[in-house]
Every structure is written in structure tokens, then in C-alpha cells.
Symmetry: C2
Subunit: 209 residues, 2 copies
């Protein structure tokens, strides 16, 4: 494994900023692989404390569950169909859909999915054909969800480094500046690789009154 | 406020390493103030989701509750009695008791409390007299617990910087090396003060099978 695996969920604004960070670093020659972790599955009460998930997002009907559940499943499948047109297409589609959701404030619906396909310059006919093979897309999504569980991913974005270090990295400020992105990434690497064996740095949050 | 407040609980091995870190930095001229946060209170089911705690450690009888609850309350009160002999005495006692518990593996009991008082070079008679004023010690402990709640402290060690930044800092490797401690502290400060607005860096932990 030479790439850093980046687990994301389109529901999550922190994942959006994490993908933007990785996109800037990718332009600098870092290698990232886009992967999917489902927050709805990860936080599902049936999965709490289970050694293996009992409830899988990939086993749910498209029209079932909460709006979060439905839209996150549809977004994952749309992105996986896009990824069949190559790695650059996968990144372009993922960025376009994250931006539609979290920058433009659009819902994760058919209009956003198609808009992202156009923004990303996909072969639209090929993308729609890939989307029709629901079983194949769900099968490959399930592999990501299983790997995320095995690795202990619990939130997005989570970066899994080639050396095995892995952590959730949550930050508030978007950057597309190459220097700032590099600094932010180096800080993350320093924390993970510190001789201290840092498990957590988590800011306090005063209770709401 | 010019000191960094350091919230600890004698139950916690991470707090121990955090106090050791602060002790090294203190010798380099940094200013820390030792404060108490109760893990038993913070994690108490009656307090979950409450804007104010309903269950206070300071309202529990000395002989009630789980062993964790009893020993943590007794340790807090013993340390507060020690602190009446000055700041250096507070540090010496706190380090001695943390080391007894987490380095030597002793329980938090009367034998450890007295042993720490001797190790710290306290005036033992004065310390025992201070311990007898249970109400006063509980009153001052409650102020720390109330401040910790107000600040959103949820674990130990938590450092609250003079500039208001505050976070839980959990690491596995003890250090008493001045250079390593300085590096570790600078890394923590860099994360908290980064323009990224970092909320969390938390390592993944594969599920137990």
C-alpha cells in the first residue's frame, strides 16, 4: 500500500474539507485513495458494541430509512459509478458533489448527482449505465465499509497512512492554498508520528445552556 | 489568567503522564495550575445530556459508591489538603500520588495517601488537620468540578491555555526529558492554535474480536 486511504461520507462537512485538503496535496504529488465510510451505519444503534456490523447500509432499499440514510447511500453509489471512468474522474466527481452539498448547500439528490457528473466532465451515458448495475456498486461499497470497520474508522475524514497510522482529522477552516494545506498535513503527520504515542487531541466544547 | 489550568483525575494514567509533562515544563518556567475533574461525575449516567450536573461527586458520602468513586473522591480531598501547604507542596503531592498509583501500581487508599505526603515532604500534622475539614475541601473541589463542567472538560488531562484554547491531550509514552517534553508541548500548542481550527485528531482503534 503506497497511497493514503481517505474515508469520507458525503453527508459530512468535515469530510468535504478533508477531501479539498487531499485534492491540493494530490496536485503536489501525494497519493490518496478515495474510500467510503458510512456515518449512518457507523452510528447505527444495532451496530453499537458489535464486533461485526449487523446493520449494513448496503443492504437497505434505496427508498428506505431516514433522509440521511437514503441520500448518503445514493451519493456513495453515484460516486462509485463515476469512479469507473478513472481516478481523475473519481476525484472530480467527489469534489463536485461535496461542493454542491456543503459549499452551495444543495441536497444530496438526483439533481446534485447529475450536476456533479456534468461539472466533473463525465461521459454521462456511461455514468448512467454504471449506475444501473446497482448490485456491483453495492458490492464494492460494502468492501469499503467492511475495511473501514476493520480499521476502526468512526468518523470522516479519516486518513489511513501507508505506514499504518490512522486518525480522524476534524477542522473548521477550508483551505485550497498549497502552502497552508502542506502545513496542515505536516501538522497532522507530526501528531500521528510523534514519539509521544498521541491517541487523541480533542478540543473541549462548553455545554449548551 | 496567566497560568494554564491542568485538569486531572488520580484515576487516570493519561492524567499522570500529563502531570509529569507539566512538571517538566514548570521547571522550564511555564506556569500551570493543578485542577480537578472527576471522570466518575463526568461519565455518570444521571449527568448525561444535562446542562448542569445533577450528580456531584462532592455530595457523595465517603464510603458510598463504586471503588473508583470512593478512591477518586478521597484522593482529590487528600491532594487539596496538601495544597494548603503551598504550590510546590501541591505539585510534589500530586506527582507522588500519581506515581504511587500509576507507576508503582498501588491502590488509591490511605496507605498511598500517607505515603505520598511523606514523599512530598509535607508537614504531616498540618496535612491531617486540613483533611479533617471535610466541608471546606469538598467546597473547593466542587468549584473545580463546576469550572470543568462550564469549560466542557470531558477527560483528563485537559489543558486550558491562558488564551482560552483548551483540549484533552492523550498520549501513551511518559517523558521526563526536558527537550522531549518541550517538543510535545509545542506540538499540542501548534494543533490548538493552527489556522485550520482543528477540533479533533483522534486515532482509530480497530475493534476487539
Amino acid at each position: 500500500m503506497t497511497a493514503t486511504d481517505l474515508f469520507v461520507d458525503f453527508l459530512c462537512p468535515y469530510a468535504w474539507r478533508g477531501v479539498e485538503l487531499a485534492a491540493v496535496l494530490r496536485a503536489q504529488g501525494e497519493t490518496f485513495r478515495l474510500r467510503h465510510f458510512s456515518l449512518v451505519q457507523g452510528n447505527h444503534p444495532e451496530n453499537a458494541g458489535q464486533p461485526e456490523p449487523r446493520w449494513w447500509l448496503t443492504e437497505q432499499a434505496a427508498e428506505e430509512g431516514t433522509p440521511y440514510q437514503r441520500s448518503s447511500l445514493a451519493a456513495f453509489l453515484a460516486a462509485r459509478a463515476a469512479a469507473q471512468q478513472g481516478e481523475d474522474a473519481a476525484w472530480a466527481y467527489t469534489l463536485a458533489l461535496f461542493r454542491a452539498r456543503h459549499e452551495a448547500g444543495q441536497p444530496l439528490d438526483e439533481s446534485s448527482f447529475s450536476g456533479a457528473a456534468q461539472t466533473a466532465g463525465l461521459d454521462l451515458e456511461r455514468w448512467q449505465a454504471a449506475r444501473a448495475d446497482d448490485d456491483a456498486l453495492r458490492g464494492s461499497l460494502r468492501e469499503d465499509l467492511a475495511d473501514a470497520h476493520r480499521l476502526g474508522v468512526f468518523g470522516t475524514p479519516t486518513y489511513v497512512l501507508p505506514d499504518g497510522h490512522a486518525a480522524y482529522y476534524r477542522f473548521e477552516q477550508l483551505t485550497r492554498d498549497p502552502g497552508v494545506a502542506r502545513e496542515r498535513w505536516n501538522l497532522y503527520l507530526s501528531v500521528l508520528r510523534s514519539e509521544a504515542g498521541i491517541g487523541t487531541i480533542k478540543r473541549t466544547k462548553p455545554p449548551v445552556r
